[in-house]
Assembly symmetry: C2
């Protein structure tokens, strides 16, 4: 049996839904890679008794490892280290060497904090701040320094990435890994924790696992469940594969974790999925459609792309430029929301809009051509549609989207779709469909 | 004392971090509005013993209300209703009338499922699917129908929004509200649950609360903590205000919940924040910068806006068009990633780029002018910067962004900033800064 783990995310802002937790999902993926079974994620506020109750619950449930995130800051309501120490039955002691190292970090930060410590500062103003006000912030920092250097006796200290150290705290039958809340600090510290003997001991029961991800574009999620059942009754052994399927951004993701000696079982499972779902499987090892499109555009030879979009209002260009290095192949885009802009900027014939309507396959094609023409790209993407909530009609309800992807003087793929969901979902799904059409064109598809 | 609640989100995809939970945060906000104190959010997978342990933990911790989301589907691994019944010590009984109502829903859905039941379907193909394959999916649906009509004895049934009914289940000292996982079903059902006597009884202890949100752009979060301390030592009573501060998208949000008779305390607190943070407070009652910009653009008179953007690659136009009805005032945008596009499309003088570099205040201003010129708008936004990770230099490090917001033939506000964070953060923060500059210009500001 593999090791079991629980995660406790602390913070009133997360509990109250004001900010989304990014640490739970990130740690969950790391645990899966590490072959540790995650049983519970718990979110608690800043009340120490609730954190204490969560730790006790997870210990009672037999977790080998408990990971906490947050509550390590310098202020009085940052109580995680103290509560964990109490839970583990260990005294808090000042680690003087650590105090010195934190002080050195604060000293280095000092110069960079210039623009961050005036309460009524014009945020758009780059002037230096008065020294007196800066000093008050620094005083508060020094007070917090000593607090952050208090460590439960017998715990392993993880060096600060920001100013807060992390901890590995043995607690009877379980081990508590105490990490800071900011993802930029938590993630490197997780990696550092892997090197400690204390964590290795806690996870001694965890094996080595492999993870593979397939992605499909097209079939409904219910069909994947049916494929699993059918494969099993056809004799494909699934019991050593931990398979998770989910719908993400309009695509199906099948994530599977298995021990290395179940590799043949996975191969048989993958073959069954490929046989049944054929060309809708676009990724066999975790690639995203964005990865595939970027790879195809980079060539060699590099092919350049430009966008002329209406209902997606800039999101298509935004998605293409999301990736570092995309300036290699993205020339730019036209967001042509008004009909005038479609005509003036993208060179769409006004008579075409008059005759077929702004949301029509003809206008989508003209937008793709206009993108090529105006930006001088090899490939153009044209998008026009009704994202809602208003603007729909009997013939063209909300969710109607016309897409066209064209190569300069070459092939073209056009689609008109009805997409489900609200305005934000229609806009996002549209960019996903466009990415798939673009990939098909780049692979030499013509329809 | 107010009522206390816990939330249990079920589902392996959520636990494993593959999909983000949207129900916990949504329910947390509803509970806050309702004056219920949320103590724990727990995420469990599909193992019934883990769900059972979570329910028992929350009951032991004295929750008046436990809300579950997910696990109400038609398949065998959807076990929430059964586990809750067992936890509450109630038998499962078939509700025949409910079974009939679910059957009627499935019948209505049938016609709309045409395009969703072929496993190897080209997702971009709109053709009808063969009848035989459709039938196999419908068989599976009928099997699930009976399962979904099994109800714990003595529970209140909440009518299905999709196909799954919800439940209010009294369980000794606590009440379990069982809701489906899809947010589109959970949210309307939460509202329906408010009308039931069973839920009213569970929340009898909850009072009526008010919630107010202030938003600030500029000061660091640590300064807000200091403002709270200072206000308290100046005699502003804060003990009846539940104040949560957080950093969101580069802005500070101060959310406060209080009972109506603490309204004077809130007024004093608000005055203290306004006095200390002055013009950086841009919203006193929950408005977002996007709300304020939209309101200012709508006038009357309406003022139109257009964008010419480089490093944000379409996201600025995407943000402006996020809002339903934005076609009233957004004419469109130019994503000018390449220098050629800046010259050809936005009309930037090539010599300007040569002389000052593509990332320069001069080019940002020329982009704003170009947006006005090319799209015929009243206002233009120009953005150019280095989002990273590459492209930085000693003089212009990654995070350097130049913005210009200009009115046709009128005033102009320019800024050059150094933004922290990775590529995605720099791009998003840039759009936030641009929204604030736009609002300032719309309010008649000139710098």
């Amino acid at each position: 049996v593999s090791a079991r783990a629980g995660i406790v995310v602390t913070g009133t802002e997360v509990l109250s839904g004001i900010i989304a937790d990014r640490n739970g999902p990130w740690l969950a993926e790391r645990l899966r890679e590490r072959g540790v079974q995650l049983a519970h994620v718990m979110i608690v506020g800043d009340r120490p008794e609730d954190l204490r109750a969560a730790l006790e619950f997870l210990a009672r449930e037999g977790m080998d490892l408990i990971i906490t995130s947050g509550g390590l800051g310098p202020t009085a309501d940052d109580l995680t280290a103290e509560v964990v120490a109490e839970f583990a039955g260990r005294e808090m002691r000042l680690d003087e060497a650590l105090e010195g190292r934190i002080a050195a970090i604060l000293e280095r930060l000092r110069a960079r904090w210039r623009s961050m410590d005036r309460p009524d500062a014009d945020p758009l103003d780059q002037d230096a701040r008065p020294d007196a006000q800066r000093a008050s912030t620094l005083d508060a920092m020094r007070l917090g320094n000593r607090k952050q250097a208090m460590v439960p006796e017998g715990a392993t200290v993880l060096e600060p990435v920001g100013t807060a150290p992390g901890l590995v705290v043995p607690a009877g039958g379980t081990t508590v890994l105490v990490l800071p809340g900011p993802p930029g600090e938590l993630q490197p510290m997780w990696r550092a924790a892997q090197e400690t003997a204390a964590l290795a001991a806690a996870l001694a029961g965890a094996g080595v696992f492999e993870q593979r991800i397939m992605r499909l574009f097209g079939p409904p999620e219910s069909e994947i469940a049916k494929t699993l059942r059918d494969a099993e009754s056809d004799g494909v052994p699934l019991d050593r594969l931990e398979i998770t399927t989910c719908l993400r951004r309009g695509e199906i993701e099948i994530a599977t974790v298995f021990e290395p000696d179940a590799a043949d079982d996975y191969a048989a499972f993958e073959a069954a999925v490929l046989e049944r779902h054929g060309a809708t499987v676009f990724a066999r090892d975790g690639e995203t459609i964005d990865d595939l499109v970027a790879g195809a555009l980079l060539g060699p030879p590099v092919r350049t792309v430009a966008v002329a979009e209406s209902c997606t209002g800039g999101l298509m260009a935004g998605r293409l430029t999301d990736r570092a290095g995309s300036s290699e192949y993205v020339l730019g885009g036209l967001t042509v929301y008004s009909n005038e802009a479609k005509v003036e900027l993208a060179g769409v014939d006004g008579a075409l809009i008059e005759r077929h309507g702004a949301v029509s396959p003809e206008v989508a094609a003209a937008l793709a051509d206009g993108a090529i023409e105006r930006l001088g790209s090899d490939i153009g993407i044209g998008i026009t549609g009704i994202a809602g909530p208003g603007g729909g009609s009997e013939l063209k309800p909300v969710g109607t989207v016309c897409l066209s992807v064209a190569a300069r003087g070459g092939s073209r793929i056009d689609r008109t779709l009805q997409l489900p969901g609200n305005r934000a979902m229609v806009r996002e799904r549209t960019t996903t469909v466009a990415m798939h059409l673009l990939r098909r064109l780049l692979d030499g598809g013509t329809d």
